[in-house]
């Protein structure tokens, strides 16, 4: 099984996406989906330099819910900031990182991008720090603490 499915999570995801996109779920669709789920991860293995270990599905589900809620809140905040005519105090924030797994960092990039008001600017070569641009910077240290507590810690639990 290890050799046939080197990336089981990816295989399951591909299979599910394939079935949900096929107009009818019949034997042919299932067979083709299974073929895609086996062949595609094997062909794209060189694109994943480090193996992906995903643990703690409950933590992952809670993180997803948290991110959606935070994103909704940021959407409202950025909408009001954009609509009001007063000048914004934008700036860069340096976030020291404890997480090192590249897959976890990729998800952190997704989270930061999915939260309006924060944009990923740069990652240190040794992955020890992250540079963020913040649209409305009121409490820099508070924001760093929030990111580390809310996103980085669960990501370390899931990926490391």
């Amino acid at each position: 099984v290890r050799r046939l499915l080197p990336a089981p999570v990816l295989s399951v995801a591909l299979f599910a996406v394939w079935l949900s996109l096929s107009p009818t779920v019949d034997a042919a669709a299932v067979l083709l989906g299974a073929l895609v789920a086996v062949v595609a991860p094997a062909l794209t293995a060189p694109l994943r330099p480090t193996p992906v270990h995903v643990r703690r599905p409950l933590v992952a589900a809670r993180l997803l819910g948290r991110v959606i809620l935070d994103s909704l809140r940021s959407n409202v905040a950025v909408s009001t900031a954009v609509s009001s005519r007063r000048a914004l105090r934008s700036g860069f924030v340096r976030v020291p990182l404890d997480v090192r797994d590249p897959n976890a960092l990729a998800v952190l990039a997704m989270i930061v991008t999915a939260t309006p008001g924060t944009a990923w600017a740069e990652l240190a070569h040794d992955r020890s720090a992250l540079l963020l641009h913040v649209l409305s910077l009121e409490d820099g240290p508070g924001l760093v603490a929030t990111i580390k507590q809310r996103y980085e810690r669960p990501l370390m639990e899931i990926f490391e």
Binding site: S71, M110, H125
Partner: protein
């Protein structure tokens, strides 16, 4: 006879109210997405610096995309009388690909500012 007729009438009215309620809900969700995209586009026009403007389209790629995909999934599920979730894959793919463009744009802008000697954060090393 009139009892049956009035029962049928009441049932039909109930269905109508329910359908209208769902239609209204779907319309509100779709409109919320459209408003988010509009505000994001407005921000792209009105914000002053590049680093501020980069935040505005995020409204369209989050709530804008989510709401319209959700409205599509709800409406199609009702019309087709079966669960229809294709549309919900769109926000997932957008969430995966959006960081790529943002990171490229941000890095290019930061690099240009540093080269030009303008106000930019020091490299992280």
């Amino acid at each position: 006879m009139s009892d049956v007729a009035s029962a049928v009438l009441r049932l039909a009215l109930g269905c109508l109210v329910l359908a209208m309620g769902f239609a209204l809900l779907i319309a509100v969700v779709a409109l919320a997405g459209a408003v988010a995209a509009l505000v994001g586009s407005f921000g792209l026009l009105s914000l002053r610096s590049f680093f501020q403007r980069v935040h505005a389209p995020t409204l369209a790629s989050t709530v804008g995309t989510w709401s319209i995909a959700l409205a599509t999934a709800l409406q199609q599920s009702l019309v087709r009388d079966q669960v229809f979730v294709h549309a919900l894959l769109v926000p997932a793919f957008v969430a995966v690909t959006a960081p790529i463009t943002t990171i490229f744009l941000m890095r290019a802008a930061t690099f240009r500012r540093r080269v030009a000697g303008e106000d930019a954060p020091p490299p992280l090393g």
